[in-house]
């Protein structure tokens, strides 16, 4: 546990040192703020409802693009520069390395999301806010971020090229983001149901309406766990090839 935290701390510090963190937070706040408060077609005053649905809808997409940009560096850069050899000959396991990297990206997203709490405060002054829906929305964003981070770390583990890691993460992510949903809508029966269950969108939407269902949570936790396990397998395959 201590080793995981050591790795997480270092990674998080390097996000802030390299300005990645600041750029991410500023663009994220800028985009989501613009659409929530200013945009001519969708802003809160126009819709005239005191809720954060617009913000959650926008963040659902901005995070989808931002997260691969954060995670692409995590293991690909270590592979490229050879520092992975240094890291994995310290007294840490591959699992600890993977989880450390995962948590650092998750913390960065958490910080970015925390910066949007003033939106919530403002909206709650404007009218009667459905607090459950807001909490559910944030939980949904956090869950879907964690799932994409896990996919991103996995993509990063497979290559030593950051661009490849970025594109691979987007490619895998787009299935969960939208493609499974699109495919499901054209199909009936069991296959349609399976695809519908795999689509992140429906799970995210039910969370952001304030319905906190264990099925949705389990769905996201499964993606996270599978992503991390695969990342670990890829790392150890490289080290322990036979």
């Amino acid at each position: 546990m201590k080793s995981i935290w050591t790795i997480t701390k270092r990674e998080l510090a390097s996000f802030f040192d390299s300005l990645v963190a600041y750029v991410l937070i500023i663009i994220f706040l800028g985009l989501s703020g613009f659409f929530t408060w200013l945009s001519g077609s969708s802003n809160i005053f126009l819709i005239n409802q005191a809720d954060l649905q617009v913000f959650f809808g926008i963040s659902y997409w901005t995070l989808f693009f931002f997260i691969p940009a954060i995670t692409m560096r995590t293991l690909a850069e270590e592979n490229r520069s050879g520092t992975l050899e240094l890291l994995s000959t310290k007294a840490v396991s591959d699992w600890q390395i993977v989880v450390g990297k995962f948590l650092s990206s998750l913390l960065l997203i958490l910080i970015a999301l925390a910066c949007t709490i003033p939106y919530y405060i403002t909206v709650s002054k404007l009218g009667n806010v459905d607090h459950g829906a807001v909490i559910g929305g944030y939980l949904g964003l956090l869950m879907i971020s964690a799932a994409y981070i896990s996919i991103g770390v996995f993509s990063s583990a497979t290559t030593n090229n950051q661009i490849v890691a970025f594109l691979l993460a987007l490619f895998i992510g787009i299935f969960f983001q939208i493609l499974f949903g699109v495919m499901a809508s054209g199909l009936r029966g069991t296959l349609g149901e399976i695809l519908n269950y795999l689509s992140a969108r429906s799970h995210f939407e039910s969370l952001s309406r304030g319905v906190i269902d264990s099925r949705d949570i389990i769905y996201f936790l499964s993606i996270i766990t599978i992503g991390l396990l695969y990342s670990q397998t890829i790392l150890s395959k490289r080290n322990w090839q036979s």
Partner: protein, 308 residues
Amino acid sequence: MGIIIENLVKSYGIQKAVNDTSFEIKTGEVVGFLGPNGAGKSTTMKIITGYMAPTEGDVRVDGVSVLENPEEVKRRIGYLPENNPLYTDMAIIDYLRFCAELQGVERSQIPVRIREMIELCGLKVEKHKKIGELSKGYRQRVGLAQAMIHNPEILVLDEPTTGLDPNQIIEIRKLIKELGKEKTVILSSHILSEVEATCDRILIINRGRIVADGTAQTLRQQSQGQEILTVQIESSNGTDVNKELLGLASVEKANPVDGKEGFFSVQSKPETSSRKPIFDLCVQNKWYLLEMTGTETNLEDVFRKLTN
């Protein structure tokens, strides 16, 4: 206890980087792996440090198997990989703290250890710089410092002096010798003089196998086998000296040395010496024996002989 390497095999496809190697390293020894590029030195080191698993065989450090308990083994080893990869975006002190925490150094001891390492590796002037801003020599020192931060019993250094200037090489060698007094050190190199200068014991590796094992002294003797003498003889009466030399019972080969009047290179048959017969021959023929020197085989020759 030390390190025991048992029947190590590492194959990449059909190619065997390490081919059934077994040896033992005792605590406190400074061992040098010597071999041409691609001989399997780095691979062996990567297996010892737990970065790669062997295809067959095992490594035991103080009785702990690297396969069964890699983390315990890693804690006892300090490793400086080839090419010395480092996080270039970190400051030296932060980096050393990171390594110390990962290696499980006690929290209260971390600042003390960092100070000691900075002192020992001569990083004092540069300690607040980022690693990316350092020259190659200083990076190498950072690499050594991170390897020793948790005061390991064993140091594994893969080509510790590559890319350094001659002054830095001498300093690093001095440091390694110093460390070798209390620690087990394994280092690899393809520079013979380096291994000779720093190591108690030399393992020559070629094509994944150990082809020689011993001190610099014993290796020289082993390969020497046959005595080679350079003699200078002045014959007044114009006889063919070379022919006469070849006529001696103990001489296997004799050749005039190119460009040097009166010099001959004489190789004796195995396990015989030609010193006395040559002297007697000179006395008989009333020649003047002006010089007789034994040529010492250097490690370079041993190395070339064993790895070609």
